[in-house]
C-alpha cells in the first residue's frame, strides 16, 4: 500500500489527471443529445409510460415535441 499519494499516482502528472477529470466533466454536463444518450433515456420513459393511464397520456402529448430531437440524434445534424 502506498504511503503517499504521489506513489499511488506513479509517473502520472497532475496534467494527465486534470485532463481525465476535464473529459469526465465535459461528458457529464454535456447538453448535447447524441443517439447513445437518447437510447439510455428510453428505459426510463418506458417505465414511466407503464406506471399508469395519466402518465401514458402525458408522455404521448410530449411525443410531437420529441420527434425533431430524435431525427436530429439519428442524422447528427441540427435542423434549420
Amino acid at each position: 500500500m502506498a504511503d503517499n499519494y504521489l506513489e499511488e499516482y506513479g509517473k502520472e502528472t497532475s496534467q494527465e489527471v486534470g485532463e481525465r477529470t476535464l473529459n469526465y466533466f465535459s461528458e457529464l454536463f454535456s447538453m448535447e443529445m447524441p443517439l447513445s444518450r437518447m437510447m439510455k433515456m428510453m428505459p426510463g420513459m418506458v417505465k414511466f409510460m407503464m406506471a399508469g393511464k395519466d402518465t401514458r397520456e402525458d408522455l404521448l402529448n410530449f411525443m410531437p415535441q420529441m420527434m425533431p430531437m430524435v431525427k436530429q440524434a439519428f442524422t447528427g445534424k441540427k435542423e434549420e
Partner: protein, 309 residues
Amino acid sequence: MPRQDIVAKIPKPKEIFFFKSCVASNKYPGIEVCGRDALRILGVEPVESDEQTCCGGFVTFANVAAPTSSMPAVARNLSLAEEKGLDTCVLCNGCWTFLSEFGHFMNHNDEIKSSINMMMNMMGREYKGTSNVYHIAEMFYRLKDEIGKNVKRPLKGIKIATHYGCHYLAGGKYTAIDDPQMPTYLEELIEIMGGTVVPYTANRECCGTGFTQIINGKDLSLEHTQHKLDSVKEADPDLLVVQCPYCHSQLDRVQQQLNYRQDGDYQTPIIHIAQLVGLALGLDKPKLALKAHISGRERLEKVLDKVGC
C-alpha cells in the same frame, strides 16, 4: 439586526404552498402540524400536495448523483407551487437553500432551464421560476404582529436559547432576512411570545450533522455536537429552539448517544420554531407531538406545565 428592507419584501399572502420536510414528517411530525396550523391561525392558508417529494438536496450533497440530476427534482417541486400560482414555504434550512439556490441557478441559465423543461414537459409540467421560496421562520418574523396579537399561552419565565443552523443564513448570505454572523430575529420572536432569551457562546456554531458526516465520520460529528451542547449546558436554558428539522434531529438524538457513550448528562429539550409558535398560539398538546422528542422529556413536561399546556 434583521434587514428590514428584505423583510418588507416578503408578502403576506392569503395562501402559500406548504413544503413538507422529510425529517419533520418522519421523525418529528409536530413540526409539520404546528407549522401548518400556526400559519392558518396567522391568516395564511397553507396548501399541501401529495405530489411533493423530497427537495433532492441529499442526492447532490451526498454525491450519490451529479448536481444535474437533482435539479429536475427541484424544478418539479417548484412547478407544483407554480401550477397553483403560489409562493413556497419550507420548514427546513436545507430545503430552503436547495430550492432557492438551484431555482435561482436555473432561472439564470436558459440552456439548462430549457433542457430541464424538456423533461418537465414529458410529464405534463412546466418550470417557469415564478415561485419564491420562504422559510417558515421568515414568515413568522414577517407575521410577528399577528403572532403578538394571537398569543394564548405566553411563555413567561421560560429561558430559551436559539440555534439558527447553517443553511438558511450562510447559504442565503444576501437573501436571508438577517446577517449570517449575528442574527437576532428568533430572539425577537421569542420576546414577542413572552419568553426570556438565554445567550450562550457557541450560538453560531454548526449543529454537527455535517450533512453526511453523521453517517460517514460519526466521531467528528459527535465531537462537534458535544462542543455545542457543552456550551448550551453551561447557559442551561429550558428550551433550545432550532429552525431546521435536521439540526433538531441531530441535537436531540446525539444528546442521548453522548449520555450513553461517555456517561454525560445532556438533557436540553430541543424544539422547532414552528412548535414553539404553535405552543404559544395555543395548539392542542397532541398536535405539538412533543412525545417524539428523545432528550430532556421531563424538563419539557415542566415547561408545558408552566405555560399551562
